[in-house]
């Protein structure tokens, strides 16, 4: 078992290690000397890097706050209370995941900008030349809004699973001690769900750090901008890699801080019988506010963007490109295969850490998950470097295996975080009891853990599926001949500034993402609750 774990860990870490290759191969030729005279890093540091770092930190804080409020708030309402529309919101709030961030960015800006429909209408109605009070969507604030609405499902889903698993005895004990609903939430449930909430937030924030296209569209310059500046404008691959490694160190630091902070707390509820408390019925004004909260989240994050896409489609007219079926097939196939393999790897790695109880293993898992914070293009460069070293790069043109490999590394974090969050809620005493009764680790896994983990595993599969459907930069770089996906088609239309034409492929991505979302959320609600 441990050999398998090591093998997987090594295979998946190759591209990250591959990032170090330019350090050794850039060599001493004329081109390299020219590069060192160029002084890319000094120039960037002197003029722009400080601002990039500040913008990135501000964006992370803003989006972190946004996804926390949206994700935890909605998860709390849906997990604990009964109110009109709850059955719909339960699964519908996952839907925003299906909208790619770059599509959300285009729509958000397009609708709300100066020359967009809303501002133009307001200007006509109010008779003003300029709307001084209307915030410009192309700004840091606009980016925070758009990203929060796009990415909160990560927190929502993982937090909801965590809240649903809480024991009835806990809340009953809290009631007898005089806590109100809110106090019980704030003082008991929230701290206990901390690993889950952190896992979800980590996913959202890493995706923000990795993003380049959508962020650039908002006119916000982040650290990723610096990486691409070095790479594209200065053709200095080495500098780009150095900056990327800096980014990864930062992410590792955050994980380390969170880890040391929670080391002293235990997150499993003790007690054998885990009876779930039934959701409390809300009436009157409270029911209305709950409905309004979930409803407005759903509207802003999903209904309005989809409506905008439909409107674009309507104006554009339905002209089906002959290649749509190909794109759909390719996207779906890649997503399904990657989701399966990714969940399998995540399970193996998470179990490896749990069974061996080794700190090294735990940190290896953290390292492997770093791929999520890397811009997809940078990760692809790492893979290209490794392949180039072994003269194997020609494989890319022939098969999709390199592409799947890239997806696995890029999105391992999604599945790992979800599976680990689920595993962390299973008490070690269960393992102990099973061992006492003579069960092997494998039997324990099969009979006890898997039913408990079902929801986390399904969540993990869902995240990876949707992520692969939306993935763009690595796909552009690594795909074989004559192989386009929906995301690639959307990007090419957007890059061409044919925004009305991207309505159909975007909608297809959203719809194609809807199917697994709906299937999996139904499976999740049927899964046993303990």
């Amino acid at each position: 078992m441990s050999r398998v774990v090591v093998l997987i860990a090594v295979l998946l870490s190759l591209p990250l290690l591959g990032l170090f290759i330019p350090f050794f191969t850039e060599g001493t030729g004329e081109a390299a000397q020219e590069l060192s005279r160029q002084g890319t890093l000094q120039h960037l540091w002197q003029h722009v890097l400080g601002e990039y770092v500040t913008s990135t930190l501000l964006l992370l804080i803003g989006v972190g706050f946004g996804v926390f409020v949206l994700g935890v708030g909605n998860a709390w309402l849906v997990a604990n209370y009964q109110f009109p529309g709850k059955k719909l919101f339960e699964w519908a709030l996952i839907l925003p995941l299906a909208i790619p961030t770059y599509v959300m960015a285009y729509l958000f800006v397009d609708i709300l900008q100066f020359s967009g429909p809303i501002q133009t209408a307001l200007r006509n109605v109010l008779g003003l030349g300029q709307l001084w009070f209307f915030p410009d969507p192309r700004s840091l604030g606009g980016a925070m809004w758009a990203f929060s609405f796009c990415l909160f499902p990560y927190v929502y889903l993982i937090a909801r699973t965590s809240f649903l698993d809480r024991s009835a005895r806990l809340s009953e004990a809290a009631e007898t001690l005089g806590y109100s609903g809110f106090q019980a939430f704030y003082r008991l449930v929230l701290p206990m769900s901390r690993p889950a909430i952190f896992a979800g937030m980590a996913l959202a924030l890493m995706e923000v750090m990795a993003d380049y296209g959508a962020v650039a569209y908002f006119g916000v310059e982040t650290f990723a901008t610096g990486i691409f500046r070095a790479w594209l404008s200065f053709s200095d691959r080495l500098a780009a890699v150095q900056l990327s490694l800096g980014l990864l160190v930062f992410v590792l630091l955050i994980f380390y801080i969170e880890q040391t902070n929670r080391a002293r707390m235990r997150y499993v509820s003790s007690g054998v019988v885990q009876r779930v408390a039934p959701p409390r019925l809300l009436r009157g004004k409270k029911a209305f506010w709950a409905f309004a909260a979930c409803g407005s989240t759903l509207a802003c994050a999903f209904l309005l963007p989809v409506a905008a896409l439909l409107k674009l489609l309507w104006e554009q007219g339905l002209s089906l490109d002959a290649r749509y079926l190909d794109w759909l097939q390719n996207s779906f196939g890649l997503s399904a295969i990657t989701a399966l393999i990714s969940v399998a790897c995540a399970l193996i790695l998470a179990y490896g850490a749990r069974l061996t109880k080794s700190v090294t293993m735990h940190w290896v898992n953290r390292l492997l998950g770093l791929g999520y914070a890397l811009p997809g293009a940078v990760l692809a460069v790492g893979i290209l470097s490794v392949l180039g070293l072994f003269q194997m790069a020609w494989i890319m043109s022939a098969t999709v295996s390199v592409l799947i490999y890239a997806y696995l590394i890029r999105f391992l974090s999604s599945s790992l975080q979800s599976v680990e969050a689920g595993l962390s809620r299973i008490t070690p005493s269960m393992d102990g009891s099973a061992a006492l009764l003579g069960a092997t680790p494998w039997q324990t896994m099969r009979a006890i853990h898997f039913p408990l983990l079902k929801r986390s595993v399904l969540t993990a599969g869902l995240f990876v599926f949707v992520d692969v459907m939306k993935e763009l930069p690595a796909t552009l770089l690594l795909r074989p001949f004559n192989f386009d996906t929906l995301a690639v088609a959307t990007y090419q239309l957007a890059a061409d500034e044919r925004l009305s034409e991207l309505a159909l492929p975007s909608l297809t991505i959203v719809l194609a993402g809807l199917i697994p979302v709906i299937l999996l959320s139904r499976a999740m609600s049927k899964a046993n609750r303990y």
Binding site: A31, Q38, H43, L44, H47, V48, V109, Q113, F114, S115, T120, G129, D136, R138, A216, Y217, F218, G219, E221, R229, W231, L232, S233, F234, S235, R237, E315, D321, A377, A380, V381, L384, S385, L387, G388, Q391, A393, W394, M396, S397, P473, L476, L477, L478, R479, P480, F481, N482, D484, Q492, A495, D496, E497, L499
Partner: protein, 369 residues
């Protein structure tokens, strides 16, 4: 079989005759079929269909017609990967000597120059290309052409007719003048189209003057650079900006749009060719060459020569509202016809590539986002 036939002939009943006929028929049919299948197999095991691998940074729908036209004319099947220029170059660098790329098509002169510098192209001789494509749109080395430009686009000025007088904005340099304070909008300076423009400016006026221009532009910005070229046109029409820079084909695309909102928009936007009285309007090219380690160099050369033919030029250029490189090709583009002819900037395309890094540094120092 002959025994049966003999027996049949000696038997006079009708049924036997029919049986004989059936047997003979079946045998003959079987024999013919086997001969046919063997013959067919032999035919298939003959010359395999030729292939051509194209790495293209262009991705317009009309390119499909381009490729199918070539396949129909020559029977060579085309495999393509379309990605952004930088993605393609990175991939080519990693693939190294075993790269399956035959033809590389890129957009923007600076990128073509950089790819040439990185040794991505192999030189080739072609009389037809030398005859049809002007010298200033090709790059040559020992052994022939390294890359060839197939279409051109211009970077033009659009302005809000109500807010701005055309004589205040008729050169790139005037955009930095104090009279235009708070009126100028552009896309991000780090976009290749802007970097090439600035690179050409460095070639004409030198770095010091260009940096002063960049600082003037920043002072005059109505808002921080955001969005693409079409967004600039829309912003000008809405009155958010007085004047903006855009590539010609985005403008022509909007001009040719039949949607009433677009037409209302374009009615408010004025257009002019920059620098007509001075250095000429900045142009850029899309083009390509044969990859260094091409597995099918002959087919690649055929394709590049095909791109210079009249039909292909029409698809290549007209598909994106650009001008064909071959001067004699007439395209039926009402939008481009309406814009008319203009004086072209006399800067070698190599200069745009050479100066790209200096251009980015100048823009960074001037805080031109």
């Amino acid at each position: 079989m002959s025994f049966l036939a003999l027996r049949a002939f000696t038997d006079h009943s009708l049924m036997n005759k029919q049986r004989v006929f059936n047997t003979v028929f079946k045998t003959l049919a079987g024999g013919l079929l086997s001969i046919a299948s063997v013959g067919g197999a032999l035919a298939q095991s003959g010359k395999p269909a030729q292939e051509l691998n194209i790495y293209s940074a262009r991705h317009y729908q009309t390119d499909e017609l381009l490729y199918s036209g070539f396949t129909k004319a020559t029977g060579i099947k085309i495999n393509r990967i379309e990605a952004s220029d930088n993605a393609l170059i990175e991939r080519l660098k990693s693939e190294g000597a075993k790269s399956p790329a035959d033809v590389i098509l890129l957009v923007d002169a600076a990128r073509l120059w950089r790819a040439e510098k990185d040794g991505m192209f192999q030189p080739f001789q072609s009389a037809s290309i030398d005859a049809r494509i002007p010298q200033n749109l090709r790059a040559t080395a020992e052994g022939g052409n390294t890359w060839v430009g197939y279409s051109t686009r211009a970077r033009v000025i659009v302005y809000n007719k109500a807010r701005v007088k055309p004589e205040d904005v008729d050169t790139y340099e005037k955009l930095a003048d104090p009279v235009n304070k708070g009126k100028v909008c552009t896309r991000s300076g780090s976009h290749p189209y802007m970097l090439s423009l600035v690179g050409a400016m460095i070639d004409r006026s030198g770095e010091v003057a260009t940096e002063a221009w960049a600082k003037g532009m920043v002072t005059n910005q109505a808002r921080a650079p955001r969005g693409g070229d079409t967004d600039q046109i829309k912003a000008v029409a809405a009155g958010e900006c007085g004047v903006a820079l855009t590539n010609s084909y985005y403008f022509v695309r909007m001009m040719r749009s039949t949607k009433p909102e677009d037409q209302a928009l374009m009615a408010k936007v004025g257009f002019l060719w920059p620098n007509q009285a001075t250095s000429g309007t900045h142009i850029n090219i899309a083009g390509g060459g044969i990859a260094k380690n091409a597995p099918h160099p002959e087919a690649a050369k055929k394709f590049l020569e095909y791109l210079a033919t009249d039909d292909a030029q029409v698809y290549f250029a007209d598909g994106n509202n650009e001008w064909p490189a071959v001067a004699s090709v007439q395209i039926e583009n009402p939008g481009l016809k309406q814009l008319g002819s203009f004086k072209v900037e006399d800067v070698p395309v190599a200069a745009m590539g050479r100066n790209q890094i200096a251009a980015q540094k100048i823009l960074d120092r001037a805080r031109f986002k």
